[in-house]
Symmetry: C2
Subunit: 224 residues, 2 copies
């Protein structure tokens, strides 16, 4: 397994689709050599299963591209999506569990990194710097998710867009790294609603749209 090479390659070329790792001050770069050596790369096809509820936790997964869904089934066959993940660590919470509490299924062809859990924990114990990065990563993830929940609680397309620009953008200016359709999904809107609301807000002079760059013009008065 060309694991160590692969990981370095990913870090050095930055040819990953996942932004979070890079954004978070290049977390992958802080992975200690010992852990790197045993980290594996894996591709799974759409529909394939990554792990199953009840099976024991052996790996911590980091999603590089594609989509994985964490799904829970109930007795009568109901199916609940607990999480759709398009990047980042999957089921970090399973770190302190013996077995997985849900299934993980690939929704598309997916590339991931597999960290053997015991080695990962060992690295956290033994490497203060790595540990600090890991805690910072988790803490930042918590902040981002809380902000996203807050945004999804807004009952209005315009408010969600403005909230996004205010919270994710730099001073109200944001350059999309994704398609607007994908953005709509992140905002919990249909893509049509997003297009229309963007147009409306632009028509009201509330924001300016130049290709993938969107700027908030004046947010003082809330008149959606």
């Amino acid at each position: 397994m060309p694991t160590c090479y692969d990981l370095n390659h990913i870090v050095n070329t930055k040819r990953m689709d996942w932004h979070t790792l890079i954004e978070s001050q290049g977390f992958l770069e802080f992975i200690p050599g010992d852990l790197r050596k045993v980290t594996e790369r894996r591709n799974i096809a759409a529909g394939e299963m990554l792990f199953r509820a009840g099976s024991s936790v052996c790996y911590l997964y980091c999603l590089l591209s594609g989509e994985v869904r964490l799904v829970r089934h109930d007795a009568s066959g109901g199916r609940i999506v607990l999480q759709r993940s398009r990047g980042g660590f999957i089921a970090e919470a399973s770190i302190d569990s013996k077995t997985y509490h849900c299934d993980a299924v690939a929704a598309e062809n997916t590339r991931l990194l597999c960290f053997p859990l015991s080695e990962f924990l060992h690295a956290l114990e033994g490497n203060a710097h790595f540990r600090t990065m890991w805690m910072a990563l988790l803490a930042r993830e918590v902040r981002k998710l809380r902000t996203r929940c807050e945004r999804l609680s807004l009952h209005n397309a315009g408010e969600r867009i403005v909230h996004y620009l205010e919270s994710e953008g730099a001073d109200g200016v944001l350059t999309l790294s994704q398609s607007r359709k994908a953005w709509a999904e992140e905002l919990g809107l249909s893509h049509e609603a997003l297009y229309r609301t963007l147009k409306k807000l632009a028509g009201q002079g509330r924001l300016k749209i130049e290709g993938k760059t969107i700027s908030l013009l004046r947010s003082s008065d809330y008149q959606y």
Copy 2:
């Protein structure tokens, strides 16, 4: 300052309003004595400010009761709520920042614990057990928040309720620890919509409501 006493008192009597701390295997109990000794208790009135954007990070706060909002202002006076917090740690992400990036204002009368940041970091460095608890707490928080985001992305009151019961309940059975009105807010619904949808689902035989306990009956067929 009767800090150490207070903290023990809180832990021993469990008379806090915040469930998460207790739920998360009694995190407070794992706080090392050194940190306990310098932990302060604070009450702030509704409208009072806890910290201000740009001010340096001196404390890590843990909300015991009340509500604190993290708010960001833009140049033109726009006001965006990044987070409404009704319990748990506030702005953990500020752990790795020199200054706060938003304001924190109490929305109600609020009780909190104030951990001096340097002591907290010191405790994390020096106490492996405490550190493990902290990482587990963060990881579990991430999982909960991701699940909540997933739920808030559902465009349908019935689906959100079922999702909540499936993901937060034990085998589809859940006893509410809060009012239904508060639950509605957590679900991102108006309380009227929650009451009505509960009634509808009960009428369809999809769930059973006995006071504060709600059970999912059959979730195999999605007919909301």
